[in-house]
């Protein structure tokens, strides 16, 4: 590479015009999008609250105070207490750690599998591609609930395995998107140049193709987090998610739904926080899509 590259450094610097990279452009556009800024801000705030908040409370998520069960929201317990007299606010914040954590980690798992799978399939083309995509089609036709449940039973009820299981069923769409992108990218001249220089397919995929895919991948990842969080909440609803006395937003909502007739706060607070998070993620994802000008990830 060094021998072929033109002597850029010797060119006179054009100091007056600062360069506008794709990323600084996108960042500029994103900041101009009020909804996306709102979404990003809310997510940041929630994350900080969930991580830091519990340290500043003298309640813990599993400390029971049976004499004070089902206390309505008030000055002692801002969001009330549950059937064991546990502080709801602290439980929501702890649950947020799990729900947001699962959302992030499971998305990363799905992302890694989907990107690598899609890139290989798209780059290889021909029979390999047809075979790999056929396999994705087959997995698409499976009812994922059954498989997540079987995976959870098979792997045991452990938080780490929870996001492995969720990630294992959520990577399919990512693989399809990446494959489509790679297919159109690989016909471009810079890939031809890389191939002419004798680079290995592996190097071409990881060094030349993947960086160009970041836009759609980031956008789709932002939109995958909500569906992962929904799946986690669904598993919590089934009782297959995190186990008591720990909580996630899914299990809190489930408990709240059981008791909402008398104790509305148990459903309303975790439910609205969960919805607010999904809303923010959607705003941020839509904003990123417009900012990065991604068309492939459009529904």
């Amino acid at each position: 590479m060094t021998a072929a590259s033109p002597p850029i450094s010797s060119a006179p610097p054009v100091a007056t015009e600062a360069g506008h990279s794709l990323w600084s452009d996108a960042w500029h556009r994103l900041r101009g999008n009020r909804l996306a800024v709102f979404g990003g801000g809310v997510l940041l705030l929630l994350t900080v609250l969930c991580v830091v908040g519990p340290w500043f409370s003298h309640y813990t998520y599993n400390e029971q105070e049976l004499s004070n069960a089902f206390a309505p929201p008030g000055s002692a317990h801002w969001l009330g207490t549950d059937q064991h007299g546990r502080d709801l606010l602290v439980r929501i914040l702890y649950g947020g750690r799990i729900s947001l954590g699962v959302g992030l980690c499971a998305t990363l798992v799905a992302l890694s599998i989907g990107v690598v799978y899609g890139a290989i399939s798209g780059y290889a083309g021909n029979k390999t591609d047809a075979l790999m995509m056929r396999f994705v089609d087959i997995l698409y036709a499976l009812p994922f609930t059954i498989f997540v449940i079987l995976l959870m039973v098979f792997l045991g009820r452990n938080i780490v395995l929870l996001f492995v299981a969720i990630g294992a069923v959520e990577w399919l769409t990512m693989a399809r998107i990446v494959r489509g992108q790679v297919q159109s990218l690989k016909k471009m001249e810079f890939i031809e140049a890389a191939r002419a220089l004798g680079y290995s397919p592996r190097r071409i995929i990881f060094r030349h193709l993947l960086p160009n895919l970041l836009g759609p991948v980031i956008v789709y990842a932002t939109l995958t987090i909500p569906s992962v969080m929904l799946l986690e909440a669904f598993l919590g609803f089934l009782g297959l998610g995190v186990q008591p006395p720990m909580s996630s937003w899914g299990t809190l909502i489930k408990d709240g739904a059981d008791k909402m007739e008398e104790y509305w706060w148990l459903l309303v607070f975790p439910g609205s926080l969960f919805s607010l998070t999904l809303l923010s993620l959607n705003f941020l994802g839509d904003g990123l899509r417009d900012a990065l000008d991604v068309r492939a990830a459009k529904d």
Binding site: E261, S275, K298
Partner: protein, 305 residues
């Protein structure tokens, strides 16, 4: 076209074969069996049970005999519901889920499509913002929050409907609204997005220049192309919605098939799991075929590919 359909239908066979094989062996490798949950079965009884259901045979023989029955449309006996076959369970519960799913689908189409069209036609007005906001709420408020809230408001406070059950015509209202609302939200977003994309194209400008009315532009010119993303979404969605929703059926106590998807897996009811997977997968593959056919019909350009 007919050749295309026939070829795709033939492709269904290997796909289903792989799915059956995958599921069959996957359920077996999960620890525990259909009889482990029952309290303290003596070893002799367990042995008899296993012998009765052929579980003492080597796995490959069980697999072959299962395939043999499956080809004849026989899903085998359920392990958990004694004296009932998987066919009977599906026959008893699928109609309930079909009815609920059909109603919810109706709600989704009646609400989602018009709102999406309206939002696209009145882009960037308060009407558009209202529709978009409603759509976002539908996506961000999960069914297990919306369902209990609807049951609380309309069932307990207002007493318009029963909170749960599936006996009277009234009982259909809350579950189908809850389930339909989510899909309506997605449909609305997709319809709006698809239409807006088409409305930017040159042939729409031509139609405008010729003085066609806005109604005519949307319904006569834009809608056909704008519906493509909606159709792609609807195919798999219909398969999912018709086979039942675990959450809705649990919240409203509906004896549908959706709950079996969860309980069969937790019970390790081997035959029921495979039976349900086959049912769902067949429906998905068939619906995807329908989607492809409809897409070609909507977009004549595809006919050349």
């Amino acid at each position: 076209m007919l050749r295309f359909v026939v070829r795709r239908l033939l492709q269904l066979i290997p796909v289903l074969f792989v799915i059956v094989t995958l599921t069959f062996f996957m359920v077996r490798f999960v620890p525990g069996g259909p009889f482990t949950a029952e309290k303290a079965v003596s070893p002799e009884i367990l042995k008899n049970l296993n012998a009765h259901y052929g579980l003492d045979q080597p796995l490959w023989r069980q697999y072959l005999s299962y395939l043999g029955h499956l080809v004849q449309g026989d899903f085998g006996p359920s392990f958990k519901f004694t004296n009932r076959t998987v066919n009977e369970i599906i026959a008893a519960k699928l109609p309930v889920s079909l009815e609920l799913g059909g109603l919810a689908l109706g709600v989704a189409l009646v609400v989602g499509l018009p709102l999406g069209i309206l939002a696209a036609a009145r882009r960037n007005t308060w009407l558009d913002y209202l529709c978009t906001a409603t759509g976002l709420i539908g996506i961000c408020v999960p069914t297990f929050v919306l369902g209990p809230i609807l049951a609380l408001v309309f069932g307990i406070y207002l007493r318009w409907f029963n909170v749960s059950g599936w006996e009277y015509a009234d009982d259909r209202v809350l579950p189908s609204l809850t389930l339909g609302f989510v899909y309506a939200a997605y449909l609305m977003r997709l319809t709006r997005g698809g239409l807006l994309e088409v409305l930017n194209l040159d042939f729409i400008r031509t139609a405008r220049a010729k003085g066609a009315s806005e109604v005519r532009i949307i319904f006569r010119h834009a809608l056909q192309g704008g519906l493509a993303p909606v159709v792609s979404f609807l195919g798999p969605a219909i398969a999912g919605i018709l086979t039942g929703s675990f959450i809705i059926e649990t919240i409203f106590q509906i004896p549908g098939l959706g709950r079996e998807f969860v309980t069969s897996a937790t019970n390790r009811d081997y035959t029921l799991v495979v039976g349900l997977v086959v049912l769902y997968a067949t429906l998905i593959v068939v619906m995807n075929l329908v989607v492809d056919v409809v897409q070609v019909w909507l977009n004549p350009k595809l006919r050349f590919e």
